[in-house]
Symmetry: C2
Subunit: 469 residues, 2 copies
């Protein structure tokens, strides 16, 4: 049985009563936004399961898929020493976030007996040094490669696929196909074509699920299950959050309130959103959030075609580490950000600070406490320092870091993003700005059909050496 | 002999001729800033070696220290399987950045024969799960711990020290002291006191060198040498950059020009600085930059005591990875940032993309190229997309990633930061905003002398449950 403990969204320090009148909001502000809040809520509700909002149904519509994933993962765990995801962006960030949250922090360095799952790598770049480094630490013959790309035309992922499949073919001959699982679109694209030709095991990314909203589909579920993560609990956590967010009243719907407050903050000039978990296990969860938030909300035009150039720049930070790097700026710099702290009530370990340095009070006061108390005190202290200096902040409390709470947290952020996009009246689910760079890359590498773009690139004003020092 | 290839700072795309009139600067703008540029230059020049600018002399004043470090590191490499830095902020970010830049990307996973240096860990948090995870993968009896804190009163580092020294004492008795090296202030603080009591080997952080400017002193040099990094080449690179930045004419002084342009950008509303290296090896260099830039320039008051609340929020990104996460926002979102790309002319590996997928043109066009060509094309494409959409960007070219270029790069950023602080007329080298949080932590943990602060914390307005969902 899964213990269903809700995560809590705390926005006290977004409010004028706590953070001060200059920066904070009031109950009146929230009441005044009632109409736009209702509209945002209704739009997201109406969009559920439609178009690119297929992700809203993932917590409940994958029974058969989950069975297939569990059976497949069982075989992978039995037969392979390493599991490598070839993917980038939404195909990489979710798997990495869940891996770090729910596996040992030095998973790959553990001896096999302690690890209980294959070594795990996510290759989300095309740096040649990294590819060589990977091949130094895995044995391809004992490795399962999970190629993840919806379209099968992501240059980075397909480059990795070309390199790895050659190595596998050379090493294994025809048997190479048993070392590749393809996660891709069932209905279109190149990878499904290749998978059929080669006979790969496949999992499908539903049409209505975009990269950054794909963690709850096989993109995230297969790697997680291979790592021994309980995906049923993960999906149950997502559903639990979804149910909590079905209320139209923002004061009772955490994702809707979080979206409204962030929208109001953006309107008052806060163009930066800092995500600062107080747990090493959640460091990459902040990376996943950064894609979700940045790529969904950073848009040049709104739904009516007006140029708006909106978006809030997400920044990842880590507590307490970044207290010694970024908090000086956060408390004394411009009033341009909202800081979201994530704290953990119960870490999975408790470490006591033993006695010592009896003659040094500045050190000895720590003795007798636990690291748990220290990290908790530091989170409270940062919250206090931010609030005292009038900086908007809110806090998410996790009772535990487990599959159920991670399901809640990720679905919370997805819903918050969808609502915020609705407030901003933009298309939350497209990414037209990525195309320009892609096309330029194609042109620069001489891909057929991009001759015009190549001409354009060649005709742009040449850089002057005067501006290179 | 070190091959002295200069890094190049390219600011074409900061200029109106390239990025467009709305956003870019002109030669006129630069000429108009001549007086303030001269002033910033002269201030930094006059401050060299004074007060908290002792770091400017580090490239040349450490001959004896370097010999001691090399001799010590030789012993460590011979006698220990793991090397663990206990430190946070400036005591951690530099060592991590250089480790990642110049060692194997999976260093700790390599077999000992291939690694040629101890396994390496930097513990820069007080998460109890992380401490337990570390102890799962090291054998303390075969581990050297390098405790780094100038004052010896950094709670996080001293907490780790208390825990580790207890473990070492239990395992080794009196011999425990041979497993600890202290890097700290020679003249004051707690750690030097402890080191003398216990008989630790010590290295010293000069008085005029603050945490975020400490990578060129033993803070950075000892871990680097243990890892087999050529610190003489590293320091020579720093000196080489320093010499190039002794010219008062910004068009000939890369750090001064970079500072001026960033200052002008800040004045025109760009409150975000994105650091985006196109190399996995430089990912943590962006983290190091974020502390340097954020903590140095994020200040509430200027040198005359005026409230200014200045600072630019540094954001770390990774090419090409973050093209699939952040570039949508960078090209379509608000005009609120400057993006600095770092590219590498010669990666240390070359990987060809083999032939395949002959019937799929969208994939096959990649074949015959190298990963090196692909990552380079993608960097150019991102630069093109940013510029085309009118987004300020500049680029740093590294011929190679090696100790000499890293010395140049880090010293470039340190000088740029110092100049920018001078433009902003602030104290670049203090961090008063960090104190508030520290004091609150002390109070929360019941440290003697912080009773007043504890009272203040207890008297603050209690949170309401109405604002927690």
């Amino acid at each position: 049985m899964i213990k269903k403990v809700p995560i809590r969204f705390d926005y006290n320090n977004m409010m004028a009563d706590y953070v001060g009148d200059c920066q904070g909001f009031t109950d009146k502000d929230i009441a005044a936004a009632k109409a736009i809040t209702k509209k945002a809520f209704e739009e997201v509700k109406a969009g559920r399961g439609q178009g690119m909002m297929g992700w809203t149904e993932l917590p409940t519509n994958q029974k058969e898929v989950v069975s297939d994933i569990i059976a497949t993962a069982k075989e992978v765990r039995k037969n392979f020493d390493s599991f490598v995801v070839l993917g980038i962006g939404g195909s990489a960030l979710g798997p990495m976030a869940l891996f770090q949250a729910l596996c040992h922090l030095h998973h790959n360095e553990l001896p096999k007996s302690k690890r209980k799952a294959p070594k795990f790598y996510v290759e989300d770049n095309v740096d040649p040094e990294r590819m060589v480094a990977l091949l130094d630490v895995i044995d391809p013959k004992k490795t399962m490669f999970n190629v993840i790309t919806k379209s099968g035309s992501t240059s980075e992922t397909m480059t990795q696929y070309l390199i790895i499949s050659k190595i596998l073919k050379d090493a294994l001959g025809k048997d190479f196909s048993s070392h590749v699982i393809a996660t891709t679109s069932e209905s279109k694209g190149n990878l499904i074509k290749i998978a059929k030709q080669e006979g790969f095991k496949t999992f499908f990314i539903p049409d209505g699920v975009g990269g950054r909203f794909s963690e709850l589909c096989p993109v995230g579920l297969l790697p997680a299950t291979v790592l021994g993560i309980d995906i049923k609990a993960f999906l149950a956590g997502a559903k639990f959050m979804d149910d909590r967010c079905k209320k139209p009243d923002a004061t009772k719907n955490p994702a809707l309130m979080a979206a409204l407050l962030q929208f109001l903050a953006m309107k008052s000039g806060k163009n930066i959103s800092v995500m600062m978990p107080y747990a090493d296990s959640l460091k990459l969860m902040a990376d996943w959030y950064c894609q979700l938030w940045g790529e969904s909300l950073g848009k040049a035009i709104d739904l009516d075609g007006n140029k708006v150039f909106v978006g809030q720049t997400p920044v990842k930070a880590l507590g307490v580490t970044d207290q010694h790097s970024q908090v000086q700026l956060y408390t004394e710099g411009p009033f341009d950000k909202v800081v979201t702290l994530i704290s953990v009530d119960n870490y999975r370990e408790t470490v006591s600070i033993p006695d010592g340095c009896a003659d040094i009070p500045a050190v000895n006061f720590l003795c007798g406490h636990t690291m748990n108390e220290l990290i908790d005190a530091e989170c409270n202290a940062t919250e206090y320092a931010l609030t005292r200096s009038g900086r908007l902040n809110n806090r998410i409390y996790l009772n535990d870091v487990n599959a159920f709470s991670m399901g809640q947290l990720m679905f919370f952020f997805m819903l918050q993003t969808a609502y915020t996009g609705a407030f901003l009246h933009i298309d939350t689910f497209n990414q037209p700005g990525v195309e320009e760079g892609k096309n330029a890359t194609y042109a620069l590498l001489g891909r057929a059909g991009y001759e015009e773009k190549a001409k354009e690139l060649n005709s742009k004003k040449k850089k002057t050496d005067n501006y290179i020092i």
